[in-house]
Amino acid sequence: LTVKSVTVAIPVLNGAAYLDEVLRAVLGQRVDVPVELLIVDSGSTDGSIEIARRHGARVIEIPGSEFSHGGTRNLAIAEAKGDVVVFLTQDATPASDRWLASIVEGFEQADDVALVFGPHVPRPGHSHVFAREMRDHFKTWGGGERIDLHRLDRSPEALADYRRYPYKLQFFSDVNGGVARWAWEQIPYRDVPYAEDQLIAREMIESGYAKVFHPGAAVHHSHDYPPTRFLRRYFDEFRSLREVLGHVEPFGLEHAARTVFHQTRLDREFMKGHGVEGLPLRRALARSARHHAVRALGSGLGARADRLPAPVRKALSLDGRSTFSPVEVPASPLLEEGPLPASTRPRPRDYFSFVRSGFPRRPLTLDPAPGSLAEKESLTLAWVLPPWDRGSGGHMTIFRLIRMMEQRGHRCSIFVFDPSGTERDAGEELRERIRSGFVPIEAQVFNGLEYWIGADVGIATQWWTAYPMRDLPGCYEKLYLVQDFEPAFHAYSAEYIWAEETYRMGYRCVAYTPWMARILRQDYGLEAESFECGTDLDVYRFQDGSREPATVTVYARKETARRGVELALSGLALLTERRPDIRVVLFGSHDRPKPAFDHVDLGVVPPARLAELYRRSTVGIAFSLTTHSLVAQEMMASGLPVVELAGDNVSSALGESGEVVLQADPDPVSVAAAIEALVDDPARARAIARRARSFVEERPWERSGEQLEGALRSFLARPRDPAAGFSREATRVAATLGGRPYDRGPHE
């Protein structure tokens, strides 16, 4: 909103004490728009009207009987000429000559700003209690130091928060606050005796308008009464809040004791911060405790005024009012007890809503890239990850790559995308978990995508994350780190199709193993480069010497179907029938397999113990029916000869390095024969183990980082083909199992 003119309006009744000071401060404002000064007097007899006229104010006089807080302010706005009307009370003095400019600046924050308010600062000499209370109160918005624009978010979670704690959004004070005329024309003040400002703010916020707190729009305003007068004022205030807004202040011995204790402690910290110690501090705290006790009593009684006899109400009221008359105000459906309206009711977490909102199919959201992006020395990379468990191999690879990118001078941030909502840790806890359990990364970590602003390159790391990443703003390029053919992690199912769908979104891919990159290129038409994984050579040290005889160590992670555990166990069942000297050690599974032969099952084993196991065993088995397993590489690093299944997935990962593992056909007889061959031919086994160690030594993580960066820069250097890999066509169920139509024959 561009503010063209402002009216400062002040309702007055016998306000001579401060009115001159207030009007001087208003007229001394430095502001670039015309200002009108309007006074609505409701029967002053102390010379207030003369003071107002002396300062050039336009004065509207109304009988005292016609005054109401809401109605009188409506009259003021109706009479005002400004497109913004800023209200002050007769004892609220602008604290600086930029007060009005700050209010105007508040309205200019957005086109839908309906209300702007500023902080109150106690008048000099008034009690420390007010200074501390007001400071803490106004810290609610922008920490009391920054402009804070707020609106009501209509998500179920935000509405539930609003119902639980409406105060932050509803609070508005027309002791010192401005109202936009356009908004008032839609939602005028209710003609209520009190709390008109809270009510108009509630209605405007719930109608979707914005409200702004501006720390520069401060006024000096406070009341310093004796305790009994405070008690009666609080009684009136909270009776009215109950009558108008239905607000019931908590009351009771425990609540009062806790409140007094807590508030007094805050006062103590505040006073100490101002250098007050010793006896003066103890005296001040005694006054604090008394004030907070009086407030607790007055507010509790006021909020329960309906239960008190009329003479008691009259005696307690500073206004001498004996009535309790609830005011009919429009009900807020968002604040009613009971279920929220169907559209706003929080529902049980909707796990796959991210997939649903991923349709209809659409291209990646990308910003036009500057020509120099490929040569930019330090890129900003924002990674979106799924949540993880301790020891997750896939995450270890991702965190290693992030660290490698950091070491190569790039800046990274990590966003954890958790559609299940089970990840409860804050970003700093997640970061600590990564640093202590995986790799000492530098990147900041966020639980959720709320703080996403984009980066040079956004990187999806798993099929769930590819859905939100597609639409996230602020990226010149989007990359998909594909460690495995993830559709195969699921039975042929909705999840299979949804995972496969991510290969039709048009990402540029960096895949682990040339095999995976080839699938992405050939079956899905994507641009794909590949990288190799390193191995932690410090943990998995090479041992060439003696090993325990005929000991076969098997990665038997039964819960991960692609590990082909039943195939390994079938081969071993055949072998142990004819070779009772073979000893089998299983590891890696919480859900322990129970093969029908003698074995030892170690369950899930930490890396150091695992390395020791590899160094003592004769043959290792870590099958993978999809991407080559890093467990096999760790066995290779330890000098343990490995039996692998023959296939493109394995041979593409192991390259042309000669015989670094012994490959078996995927049937029990071949598996048994391969294991037996290594057990019975130690010389061959040792030769394979030495070649395998050389193989992993040639592939440190630094090389993985180099490959990833190389892929990234080659993508950035090549203009994108907007159509590459993106398909508006739906996949045909069953016709494209594995992405390969039947009529094209098997994948080559």
Partner: protein, 80 residues
């Protein structure tokens, strides 16, 4: 004033890129703190709204009172 030929546009562009990357990093540091604060506030509010927290309130109050009494008694003894 340097002439057009004397201005090293490449150096300027690199400097601007570097400052933009630093600002990006600074944003993430501040945003991470903000996100953590919001997260902990939410946790606290959830805990204080829970049934178990509310029914154990008298115990905490008693502990608070006891601590206050002990401390006051100690102070009084020290000053006497």
């Amino acid at each position: 004033v340097p002439g057009e030929a004397q201005i090293d546009w490449k150096a300027r562009a690199e400097d601007a890129e570097r400052r933009a990357a630093e600002a990006w990093e600074a944003y993430h540091e501040i945003a991470a703190e903000h996100a953590d604060a919001a997260h902990y506030k939410h946790l606290l509010e959830t805990r204080e709204a829970s049934f178990s927290w509310r029914i154990t309130a008298p115990l905490r109050l008693a502990r608070l009172a006891l601590r206050w009494l002990t401390r006051s008694a100690r102070k009084a003894l020290r000053h006497s």
